[in-house]
Symmetry: C2
Subunit: 337 residues, 2 copies
Amino acid sequence: MEKKLPTIKEIARRLNISASTVSRALHDHPSIGLRTKMAVKKLAAELNYEPNQTAIFFKQRKTFTIGLVLPNLREEFFSAAINGIEDVALDHKYIVLIGQSHNDLAREQKLVETMKNHRVDGIIASISSSTTHIEHFEQMKNYDIPVVFFDRVPDAKDIHSVSCNLYDSSVEAVEWLFNNGHKRIAYLQGPATLNMKNERLDGYVEAHKKHKLPVDESLIVSTDLSVEGTRKAIDALLLLKKRPTAILSFNDYVTLDAIQYARQKKLVINKDLCFVSYANVPVTQYVEYPPLASVEQFPYDQGVSATELLFRLIDKKLAGQESPYENIVLKSELIIR
Amino acid sequence: MEKKLPTIKEIARRLNISASTVSRALHDHPSIGLRTKMAVKKLAAELNYEPNQTAIFFKQRKTFTIGLVLPNLREEFFSAAINGIEDVALDHKYIVLIGQSHNDLAREQKLVETMKNHRVDGIIASISSSTTHIEHFEQMKNYDIPVVFFDRVPDAKDIHSVSCNLYDSSVEAVEWLFNNGHKRIAYLQGPATLNMKNERLDGYVEAHKKHKLPVDESLIVSTDLSVEGTRKAIDALLLLKKRPTAILSFNDYVTLDAIQYARQKKLVINKDLCFVSYANVPVTQYVEYPPLASVEQFPYDQGVSATELLFRLIDKKLAGQESPYENIVLKSELIIR
DNA sequence: CATTTTTCCGCAATCGTTTGTTCATTTATT
DNA sequence: AATAAATGAACAAACGATTGCGGAAAAATG
């Protein structure tokens, strides 16, 4: 069985020359004569020689692999981001190792560990909702593995990140609702771990400030992103004496759950209750009552940007240079249906 | 910069013993005395020693990596399958290299090539809709890299595969429609490359046979899975003098497009026109007019099954044994809403 | 023709780990 | 006490490719 693949040594043996000569010939090294170079290339082609990458990885201390740690692949947001990441990676002749944390810190840690063992050249990550600390990522500094966070960026300094500016579009979203006659706008926020840098809320507050309206704390509710959590949050809002007429909601998935539940409660969407959301995922096209507007976060572009940043870091590292911490912020855009 | 990580050699040097002793000590080799074993382990722990996997990969001719080639990650079907694959892989201490073909043959070939270069221990693939031949996969035999196809399985012999039996549930689906009073049932099929083994159609025909009804060829239309393609197919059906009252549709995504279009055309879904489909993806929960029924194809289980098969093949290969071609067929299930 | 320069290629080390073999020392056996 | 057996550890090769250095043969120079 186990046919063994042709190696440089094999070529060298057959041509009665040394392995180093074969290696140089294949790399068009100037110090190899045309005659032998041709002979080597000819035989290499005949034997269908292909360099053993694992040997090269080992020797070069590079694996041409980047690790990608994500909460999940189910959300179209992340699969779109992967497209961006994969495209850039393939351009650089890199390949992507993907792992899902399923929003579990322990699994996220294990993934990072495994990727470190596989000696990935760099890591791109969007943290899980249960990620309360990022030691496992910080550890990577000891291994000279650069880490770039995107979208779900931990609230820490000394990190590299790519994310969307959600503040401006949050202001815009809430103002848009005000301008459409809404007076009481609720904010359905995500779990605390994802709110450390709470741009959505800041924007929500700022819009109220601009319109000289007070912020009613009882209109701010939270969900852990589960269906149940979202329902409870909606329940809380519906129990209020003065109900909101619109909800700014953490993301489209939460919004879909919320809308479904509100309809069960016999509310008429876009009449009794309006939704504005984040992510602008394509599936909302198919639903009967989608959010009125959604903040596009350009996952593909975030992916591209994060990967490009990572490659810059890798290059710097190889050149032995330090890189300053970069925190790239992309624009988001309120898409009104 | 480039701090260098502790190696076995380093430990050996510090303890004034040989590298081989260190290696054996760390592996609890019986021929190492307790005294030195302890010393080695102690120092290894202090230095935070971790074996260099790339060196091991190289030496062992194993990378503990499996390649996964998919049409895309957007479809929840595939991301669910990945969950199954990832779970089994992690159990075996393997990691997954994911690549999307985006239904492009050239890209699929490139991915397979790249994965081969990375010396993956095995490949799991669901072919793209433009994959007209599978030479690139067959090539892998020359490199002793086993390939397991799942779900979208090419129509070829001498392959390993895992797929769902869609024949039985297709019969069941069409009979269910007959039993609900439908007389004219259309079949909206996918592109030719994915229909080589056309179980859906065979089931559709069989159901007609069982009910002693003729199959009207004009009721069988095709889509390339694009929105446009689906619309054209629906147009063709709507132009018929005797329109169908129900459509058996290739999958849920196509169905959502079809339903959206039919509604634009002022048809009342589930009255003028009913849909039964395949995949049973969760997003259909959120839409106003989902297909009445959908064939669940258990992507997670397919993923698990394919991965387990792959590991059996890898083990056999390492043991130097031949493996017979296995084509595992899982049950599917018609889910009625 | 003698010397310098250029051209071309081989030697050997290296990356970090594993493993078959050998060898010295200690312990057990008669 | 002499020999046999068991123990513990070192040596060296190997995996496949790369690369600095040195050196022989060929070409160019005076």
